[in-house]
Amino acid sequence: MNNAYEKVKLSRAKDRPTALKYIENVFEDFIEFHGDRYFADDPSIVGGIASLNGIGITVIGIEKGAGTKEKIRRNFGSPNPEGYRKALRLMKQAEKFSRPVVCIVDTSGAFPGIGPEERGQGLAIASNLMEMMTLKTPILSIFIGEGGSGGALALAVADEVWMLENAMYSVISPEGCASILWKDSKRVKDAAESLKLTAQDMLELKVAEKIIPENKKDFSVMSRYLKKHIVEFLKEKQRLDIQTLLEKRYQRFRAYGEFFEK
């Protein structure tokens, strides 16, 4: 019964590899670029260009930081609006130079604080949702740990979403859900179960296309697996003309939702 909450804990485990480790191991020659060109550089989001089997890729990741000092510097992977704006700037650049975009998602959510509200957190996320929907280049989002609500979705309006075996994706954290709905933080496990937030749930609900098997002992097994599949994804998507790609992306999201009519 409480399997879902175990997965949540795994997705947040302190020793879990963070975005930069994936970027450095799956891609070659990663060059990081900084700043949103308006306000600041947000260390919670890393981005830049890299190559994959000789193909130029724009890579963007939400970085939680490895080690306490880094975690604090990177705000535990809770981005500010300037992080989302940097991501969008790099995506627009990718579109201009016909580079595919790969996003690595790992966040408990967009940062809830005074600064982010003053600088338009809601607008920053909304802009990414709109612009990614029509970005004229393939987009792939890979969830490696936590996928917390709008702050994760802002890097996941993609042609495909892949989940690591123990990653999660949810509209709200199980803690938030339990406290708001039941005013009882002890019901976190029930909330985790009810929200349907595991990688397996995402596959069933068609929110994700693929589950990536994890290998705790040997990271290179996972990175080789990812590399192989990303190359295949790119081959497949680059065969499509842009209009078809965008129409498929629109329909992918258009299809979400079930309701009664009449």
Binding site: L129, M130, S194, R254, G257, E258, F260, E261
Partner: protein, 289 residues
């Protein structure tokens, strides 16, 4: 309580200026004695019927909540309202605890089937696609039905070359539909983008409160964003922020006026001015043939 067409045809300029009218019939007075509105800000009493005639705005400027149907009545030209997608109702897709009962209760208390009303209507004589949200329906939260109705409305407006006028009030995405609620943010954003890319005009009025997944999607995606005075508008809710940063928020934080100062809304629009203002903006966006 509120008669249809109550807001039609102001008889004089003063009526539209937010001033309280003095002449109230004896019958109405009697009704008013039964139901008094006590303003939470200035603590003044006001008879309900008088309050309703004043667009539910207190003399001190406090804007009280307004139902989705009252909104449509308020903004649309008399007799031009045609509701769309009224048959859509929510499904308990994840078998989420207590969701089915909550939906029933929300329908009973709000008198609406879901948290948004979509329609075509004329505003100041101009054909529009209109949506108004219902705060009394599970805090105006967005699940599959809200997402679907908003998306259909923008697609309809795109096909029929109509401007969209919307009024938001929402606590955000609806937890009880889990990740599918989150997906509605992307779905609606896609439809707003398509409408806009094809030249469609979208005006949104943010009302109290507009937060979470609605702020981070179609509320903030309008070409022109108006906000009602004093409305709470933000991504994260104030309580969540206080818990995270472990201190009190400054007064006025996340109000419409705060967003205006920070540059995130175009104008503050008091209710008494909305009809005229929205009408003028719409007429300036009419396509020349």
């Amino acid at each position: 309580m509120l008669k249809k067409g109550l807001f039609r045809n102001p008889k004089n300029e003063l009526e539209g200026s937010g001033k309280r009218r003095k002449s109230v019939s004896d019958k109405k007075k009697a009704e008013g004695m039964k139901a008094q509105f006590v303003c939470p800000v200035c603590k003044e009493n006001m008879a309900w019927n008088e309050f309703a005639e004043n667009y539910f705005v207190c003399d001190c400027g406090y804007h009280y909540k307004m139902g989705a149907r009252q909104r449509i009545d308020f903004i649309a030209d008399t007799g031009t309202f045609r509701e769309l997608y009224a048959d859509l109702t929510s499904k308990d897709i994840l078998s989420f605890p207590e969701y089915a009962e909550k939906l029933k209760r929300a329908q009973a208390t709000s008198g609406e089937k879901e948290a948004v009303i979509c329609a075509t209507a004329k505003i100041a004589g101009i054909d529009c696609a209109v949506f108004t949200m219902e705060g009394d329906f599970m805090m105006g939260s967005m699940g599959s039905v809200v997402g679907e109705k908003i998306t259909r409305l923008f697609e309809y407006a795109d096909q029929n070359k109509l401007p969209v006028v919307g009024f938001t009030v929402s606590g955000g995405a609806r937890m009880q539909e889990g990740i599918i609620s989150l997906m509605q943010m992307a779905k609606t954003s896609g439809a707003v983008k398509k409408h806009g890319d094809n030249g469609g005009f979208y005006l949104c009025v943010l009302t109290n409160p507009t937060t979470g997944g609605v702020t981070a999607s179609f509320a903030m995606e309008a070409d022109i964003i108006l906000a009602e005075p004093g409305a709470l508008i933000g991504f994260a809710g104030p309580r969540v922020i206080e818990q995270t940063i472990r201190r009190k928020l400054p007064p006025g934080f996340q109000t419409a006026e705060f967003l205006l100062e920070k540059g995130f809304v175009d104008r503050i629009a008091p209710r008494s001015e909305q009809r005229e203002l929205v009408g003028k903006i719409l007429s300036l966006h009419e396509k020349r043939r």
